[in-house]
Assembly symmetry: C2
Homo-oligomer: 163 residues x 2
């Protein structure tokens, strides 16, 4: 799973995503899907850009919190004590605590049923030098360490190799 | 990971995919990405439909074989002793050995960099009553059972819970 980070005209938000996919290697492109009702939706439409960030297993509680609150009411950055960084190509902030941040420039947006798909070119990738395991939406296989559950979502990470 | 199954004008093919995603809940819709050079690409363009099937861990070797051969040269169905079933909404065959088969009717196709994205409405879902674990492209975390490797691809499944 990933976080979509959006900022426009002084308003900013972070929302956890489970629908994101690579859609081109050259140039590198990603697609994400958001419901039009999500607070981040129109921020992305207006900004023409977003940041796609990957949370590690140390961000399990915060990810569940992000998914169970709305940016209408609260600034999720300060509420969750997240540190922002400046990107090189986009104005949207990056999140220092994440495993990786992708600066994404919107190429196309299309309606797919009850969601909007945002298709973007990846302009730059920032990788944390101290990476945690990627956070996943998980089921009850033993291969996952279960790290938290809230609002119908359960997060975890694939278990580390033991040697 | 999934298999895309395509058939048009007497030609048919199966190709393993790692880029597939749900893009709408109501109606249910999926998107997949294929390179235009793939043999299945024009079959899907011409047929206006495809089947998306999920292989289980018992299909690891066949999945690697499917990804390392081309439908130009060989009928992958007979070469891999796969059993076809008829769908209800599409002419493209389903694969009995898979965990699930989705009948997909093409809604839109767009170019995303070096790939084509096919966006489809899911018309019907067939679920195997005797499901295996879903096959994944894997890395070397211990949480995966590694089931095979060929041509740069490694497949496996999330380890089962031991009680």
């Amino acid at each position: 799973m990933a976080w979509a980070i959006a900022e426009f005209d002084g308003r900013r938000n972070i929302c956890p995503l489970s629908w994101q996919m690579i859609v081109s290697k050259r140039p590198p492109m990603m697609a994400i899907c958001l419901k039009p009702s999500r607070y981040s939706h129109n921020l992305i439409v207006n900004a023409g850009e977003f940041v796609l960030a990957w949370p590690g297993d140390n961000l399990a509680d915060i990810t569940l919190e992000l998914g169970n609150s709305t940016g209408c009411d609260v600034d999720k950055f300060t509420a969750n004590k997240l540190t922002t960084m400046e990107g090189e190509f986009v104005r949207t902030p990056l999140i220092r605590e994440c495993i990786a941040n992708l600066e994404c420039s919107l190429v196309k947006q299309i309606t797919t049923g009850d969601h909007t798909m945002f298709i973007a070119q990846v302009m730059a990738v920032w990788v944390n030098q101290n990476p945690q395991r990627p956070l996943c939406l998980v089921n009850d296989y033993a291969g996952y360490d279960q790290l938290g559950e809230k609002g119908g979502y359960r997060v975890g990470a694939v278990r580390k190799r033991l040697r």
